[in-house]
């Protein structure tokens, strides 16, 4: 059974929930991650998700299997969006069905926490200021990146002949 996948089209939670229906289950828990309009003091207008799908799907399947084994739930599934998303869009969905609610809540929490930490998925935020940045990547790299940008800007601004710009890598 498929336990993790990516989607490049909007997710439909009702249909996803139905796929976990099981007559032996009395509890169902889901988590929805939505695109937020702010992050670390910046006003966010949209974002893009990118993934190393081959590895992420393998690792995502492992995470969901771990949750099923660890908490003894009946079924579990996680679907993550890739591509461009707007504010309020559903970015990630986790659903779990189990005999009782407690293990459904716990497995759901485990899956989203592990997905956030372990899967090779990246998020580029576009800010109201016109700036953009890769979440968790830019701050540590900022000084060197700015230096490089300044250098490129300098080359563009001061290039004497337009054709010479085409020779730049």
């Amino acid at each position: 059974m498929e336990r993790f996948r990516f989607s490049d089209v909007p997710l439909e939670p009702a249909a996803l929930a139905r796929s976990l229906a099981d007559p032996a289950c009395g509890g169902y828990s889901a988590f929805e991650g939505w695109v937020r309009n702010h992050n670390e003091g910046q006003s966010v207008v949209s974002l893009e998700y990118e993934a190393y799908a081959e590895l992420a799907v393998r690792e995502g399947e492992r995470i969901v299997k771990e949750a099923i084994r660890r908490f003894g739930v009946a079924r579990a599934l996680c679907v993550h969006r890739i591509g461009s998303l707007g504010i309020g869009d559903l970015a990630v969905w986790v659903g779990v069905s189990a005999a009782h609610r407690d293990e459904a809540f716990c497995a759901c929490r485990y899956i989203i926490d592990e997905v956030k930490h372990r899967l090779p998925i990246w998020k580029k935020e576009h800010y109201r200021s016109g700036d953009s940045g890769w979440v968790n990547c830019e701050r540590c790299a900022a000084p060197a990146a700015r230096e490089h940008e300044a250098q490129v800007h300098h080359e563009r601004t001061h290039s004497p002949r337009p054709e010479s710009r085409r020779l730049l890598p």
Partner: protein
């Protein structure tokens, strides 16, 4: 590359994602390298691309599995350096 003539170089393929993709200006490249490990390979690539992320910020995968920085590289390996992730 010139130094490839002076060592036992082998072909590898590198895929780039997110910030590394933008800084490399491409999503993958095939190259012959004398690098024996992912750590040596990243050092070599930093001389060609303006990568700002230190190795300590990255993880490595070879042939679609996470691995250590010192795992010996073999001819034909597909290597990915994984920037800090932000799923969810």
């Amino acid at each position: 590359m010139s130094h490839a003539e002076n060592c036992a170089s082998q072909p590898v393929r590198v895929q780039y994602f997110a910030l590394l993709r933008e800084q490399a200006g491409r999503s993958d490249e095939a190259l012959d390298t004398c690098a024996r490990t992912p750590r040596e390979l990243y050092g070599e690539l930093r001389a060609r691309h303006p990568f700002t992320l230190e190795p300590a910020m990255l993880r490595v995968a070879v042939n679609s599995e996470f691995c250590g920085w010192e795992q010996p590289l073999r001819a034909g390996d597909a290597v990915v350096f994984i920037p800090p992730v932000a799923g969810g």
